[in-house]
């Protein structure tokens, strides 16, 4: 829902271009920056009355959490703003960067792309659920050892993604670079790079991240 915001702005830009028959600079161009036209607007009588909250409960890092949320709340914002589990990062809020990757059950998911209320009854694991500074998960320890991060902002997503990705290889799920779809995928650098490409790292720690994952994957294989 939240991502509707920018398309509206984009629409504003296109409106501008449609209206360019008006000579720019000499005539006023009227446009709505954020039109919201055609979108349900709160009627005057309901103004200031918030939308009813929705109850949702799911398991986070082994604990049952019950929340009453604005139904527009993403799982990402539920974790960060309501449960204060800020280890899961918001990089783009659009499913483009992977910084918000968490596990839903055994599988990785961009938590910005699912509403919290859609995860009723789910089992969510975040970076905080993998390990702690005193008791690091093997993947967390490998990231430290191989310097698989710099600023640290994509790191939670990289680690969550890496842990689930190794499970995918183990389960025999192929990917774009798997040459033989009938054989089990191997833990090669090419497989890791392809499968991790949904997690951007602008600091460019990729080579170190691959080393970290290779070490953990090699041990657990």
């Amino acid at each position: 829902m939240k991502n509707l915001h920018e398309p509206d702005q984009m629409r504003g830009d296109f409106e501008l271009t449609r209206r360019e028959f008006i000579v720019a600079g000499t005539a006023a161009v009227a446009l709505t920056a954020l039109p919201g036209v055609g979108r349900a607007q709160p009627a005057a009588t309901t103004s200031q009355s918030a939308l009813p909250l929705t109850k949702v409960s799911f398991n986070v890092n082994g604990k049952l959490r019950e929340l009453e949320l604005d139904s527009r709340t993403t799982l990402l914002d539920a974790l960060r703003e309501h449960l204060h589990l800020t280890g899961t990062k918001k990089g783009c809020d659009h499913g483009q960067c992977g910084a918000c990757t968490v596990h839903i059950g055994e599988r990785r998911m961009n938590s910005c792309l699912t509403l919290a209320v859609m995860q009723q009854g789910a089992s969510v694991t975040t970076i905080e659920g993998l390990g702690t500074p005193e008791n690091l998960h093997p993947m967390q320890a490998a990231f430290v050892k191989h310097d698989g991060y710099q600023c640290g902002y994509c790191t939670s997503g990289q680690i969550c993604s890496a842990v689930a990705m190794l499970r995918e290889i183990k389960a025999g799920i192929p990917c774009h670079v798997t040459s033989d779809l009938t054989a089990r995928p191997q833990l090669t650098a090419a497989e890791i790079r392809e499968r991790m490409s949904g997690n951007l790292c602008r600091c460019g720690a990729y080579a170190n991240i691959v080393d970290a994952i290779t070490e953990v994957g090699g041990k657990s294989a």
Binding site: K2, H5, E6, Q9, D13, L16, T17, E20, G25, A28, V29, A30, L31, A33, L34, G36, R39, P42, T46, S47, Q48, A50, D70, R72, T73, R80, E81, L85, T86, T88, K89, K90, G91, C92, H94, Q96, A99, T126, E128, G131, L136, Q140, F143, D147, Y149, Q150, C151, G152, Y153, T155, I159, R193, S197, L200, R202, C203, G204, Y206, A207, V210
Partner: protein, 735 residues
């Protein structure tokens, strides 16, 4: 501490902790999600409400009217800040455009309002109800079209607009071998993964802002100046920064609007720029057009070097200083450089990782490759032939250290350059055309004052406090290593506190000046603390040895904790510089080697190998320094192959303003990377004998990729990024 004579032997030279590849001390926090970034301070600010920024939908003009009524009536809305109700605002020293626009609009997505609501969802929804009417005016958005209106910019960090030595025109005209080509580099975006974010809280007239900022003191000053309040009333806290690359050097709209919003609704307010706003609302690396001319003798000695660069920015803005390295990199008796700056009404151009050198070398180091080929010389030999040990514009100034030739030779050996067939388009690996390329890397090393405070407690714990920031560079760790080395304690005995304006003012993070200056400040403070410890114990500070948690002199050895006593000891000092950096030229050098495969049918380029050899003084932490270099190589790969902000030249904005449209390298784009640091120390740089490396790593990378593509295909592309559409039609026929 004044650093005005070259460093001699000092405790850092023990290299017990410094110089060792050391895991980051903040690593366990960063890998467990327990490092707190700007938007994540629930504990300190439990009751913050949410601000959502609205950006201008035109590039230039005026707001005719804003109708806030529907938004104000929306559920949860607490207030809306606009220029109309924000009160009188100034403009920061480091800002070109105002951070809150209106009624005049200076660029697309300039912030025009902040909607504050109880929840994030309410703020976003209410922002969609704000109705804005604009009066749009004509703007200039096309660099090529306005290039010739460019004027000489004022001298700035990149030096004078023009330099000239000898008779360039005469020497160029007379040269038996001539080269003249024009290159373009596009606008680029920092695209750090953490968007700009801040939480602001007022207590009376005192303002505290948790933010994501590289330069704490600059931004305290600019926030105070913009708000018109004393800077003593402003505190910034920025312990972790989710990437900056120059994009967070300055006060930006998130911090200002959080402060204004919090003042308006009398509650703490948190603001993060939503991703699609980041590109056009904040700064970017400006595009350039660069013309390079060489004259040379037949045997390859450069006799004339000319480099001109055109870029654009908003009025009162600054140029992309793309000719800077050409003033220093190669010998040649007759030379000229010139920068011209045109007015563009695109968003504000400003520093991005290695401003000047990064785009400058993108052009210069292709030109060197082209000239070498013209001369029939190996590109490495050609560069070595024109190496210099003195500033070519001021030959009386030597370089403090210059091992460019050794970087090139070491790299050539390691990379297997000898086996290279100099003729392009000769090597195939199945459907892939294989090529290798080389480029020189160059970036200046800047001296900046930097202060720190060091505390010693009765347990022998050393605590460092400085407003220095760690933007992923590894500041926490190298500062801890410096304090551990100086005080003779293990790393675990050191606590480092960064990024708080209540701490002494450091150099901050930018321009690859962070490492040697911030640790230099810690060196100065620790020197003072050592003196205080010795004095308290009645020991001779000059001969006292600090090791294994003890201070020893004259046959006595006392544990540091005991020396500190229950009250502890505190020392504060700064490193300040004399004119060593004027007498000699402090720079860092490197060589990049790249192997690519270009798909013979599709023109797709894949990077297969990357090697960097760096000469950058003492490497304080080879582990994090290597990461800085591979990260910079990755950004350089992006610059070569994909990064380009697409300009809508009619509406005046960067179209691809998110992380899907603005493509940056992903895992699959980056091969194994190798980094070699030459073993050197530079006593002219600082007591640490170190220089920066984080920007050196990007300098020259894109040109090395470009040269490798040429070597693979025989197709020379002079306009970045080198996407497949620019290669198709120029590739050898597919057999």
């Amino acid at each position: 501490m004044k650093f005005d004579t070259p460093a001699t032997t000092n405790p850092i030279d023990q290299l017990k902790v410094i110089g060792k590849p050391t895991d980051r001390i903040d690593g366990p926090h960063k890998t467990t999600g327990t490092a707190r970034y700007a938007y994540e301070h629930h504990e300190e600010v439990p009751n913050a409400v949410y601000g959502h920024v609205i950006g201008a939908a035109i590039a230039k003009g005026r707001i005719a009217s804003i109708d806030l009524s529907a938004a104000k009536a929306a559920p949860g809305v607490l207030g809306i800040v606009t220029a109309e109700n924000a009160g009188k605002l100034g403009k920061g020293e480091f800002n070109t455009a105002k951070l809150l626009g209106g009624p005049a609009i200076d660029h697309y997505h300039q912030a025009i309002a902040l909607v504050v609501a109880q929840t994030f969802e309410q703020a976003v929804a209410a922002a969609q109800l704000v109705r804005v009417k604009y009066e749009r005016s004509e703007g200039k958005f096309d660099l090529a079209a306005v290039k010739d209106t460019g004027v000489k910019p004022k001298p700035g960090l990149g030096g004078a607009s023009d330099t000239a030595v000898g008779d360039f025109a005469g020497a160029f005209a007379a040269a038996p071998m001539q080269f003249d080509a024009t290159y373009t580099t596009p606008d680029q975006s920092h695209a750090m993964i953490e968007p700009h974010a801040s939480i602001a809280k007022w207590e009376g007239d005192k303002l505290t802002v948790w933010t994501s900022n590289q330069m704490i003191a600059w931004s305290v000053g600019d926030l105070a100046k913009t708000l018109g309040i004393p800077k003593e009333n402003v505190r910034l806290i920025s312990p972790y920064i989710g990437g900056g690359f120059g994009g967070k050097l300055f006060l930006r709209a998130d911090a200002l609007l959080a402060a204004l919003g919090a003042r308006a609704v009398r509650r703490p307010v948190k603001v993060a720029l939503h991703r699609p706003l980041v590109t056009n609302n904040t700064t970017h690396r400006p595009a350039t057009i660069q013309r390079i001319r060489f004259g040379a003798t037949k045997d390859g000695k450069l006799t004339a070097i000319g480099h001109e660069s055109w870029s654009g920015d908003l009025p009162e803005g600054a140029p992309e200083t793309a000719v800077g390295q050409t003033r220093l990199l190669y010998a040649g008796a007759n030379r000229m450089t010139a920068m011209r700056l045109a007015v563009l009404d695109l968003p504000e151009g400003n520093a991005m990782r290695a401003p000047g050198e990064a785009p400058g070398l993108m052009a210069l180091e292709i030109a060197m490759d082209e000239m070498a080929e013209k001369l029939g010389l190996d590109p490495i030999k050609f560069r070595i032939l024109n190496d210099t040990q003195v500033d070519p514009e001021k030959p009386e100034r030597p370089f403090s250290q210059r091992n460019l030739t050794e970087c090139l030779r070491t790299g050539a050996e390691k990379f297997g350059w000898k086996q290279r067939n100099p003729k392009p388009a000769q090597t195939r690996d199945g459907r892939w055309m294989i090529g290798t390329g080389v480029a020189a890397a160059f970036r200046n090393s800047l001296s900046m004052k930097s202060a720190a405070r060091v505390r010693l407690d009765n347990r022998g714990m050393v605590t460092v406090e400085t407003d220095m920031t760690d933007i992923g560079t590894g500041s926490y760790t190298i500062i801890a290593q410096t304090a551990a080395e100086m005080m003779g304690v293990p790393l675990a005995q050191v606590v480092v506190k960064l990024g708080d304006s209540q701490f002494p003012v450091s150099c901050g993070s930018g321009g690859q000046w962070g490492a040697h200056n911030s640790t230099g400040g810690v060196f100065a403070a620790c020197t003072k603390l050592r003196e205080a410890v010795a004095k308290k114990l009645g020991l001779d500070a000059k001969t006292a040895v600090f090791a294994d948690g003890h201070v020893s002199a004259g046959g006595r050895s006392v544990p540091l904790g005991q020396a500190a006593g229950p009250a502890g000891l505190v020392a504060e000092d700064a490193i300040e510089y004399g004119d060593l950096d004027k007498k000699s030229q402090l720079s860092t050098f490197g060589a990049h080697f790249v192997e690519v495969g270009v798909n013979a049918a599709t023109g797709e380029t894949r990077i297969r190998r990357m090697l960097a050899v760096c000469a950058a003084g003492r490497i304080l932490n080879p582990k994090s320094a290597r990461s800085q270099v591979i990260g910079a190589m990755t950004m350089g790969a992006g610059a070569a192959l994909m990064e380009e902000l697409a300009v809508d030249k009619r509406a005046g904005f960067f179209v691809n303003h998110d992380l899907a449209g603005y493509e940056v390298p992903v895992h699959a784009d980056i091969p194994h990377q190798e980094v070699i640091f030459l073993d050197e120390t530079d006593p002219m740089s600082s007591p640490m004998k170190a220089k920066g490396v984080g920007e050196l790593g990007i300098c020259g990378v894109a040109a090395a990729v470009a040269n490798a593509i040429y070597h693979a295909t025989g197709a020379r592309v002079r306009d970045y990024p080198i996407t497949l559409d620019k290669l198709l039609g120029h590739l050898p026929p597919v057999a």
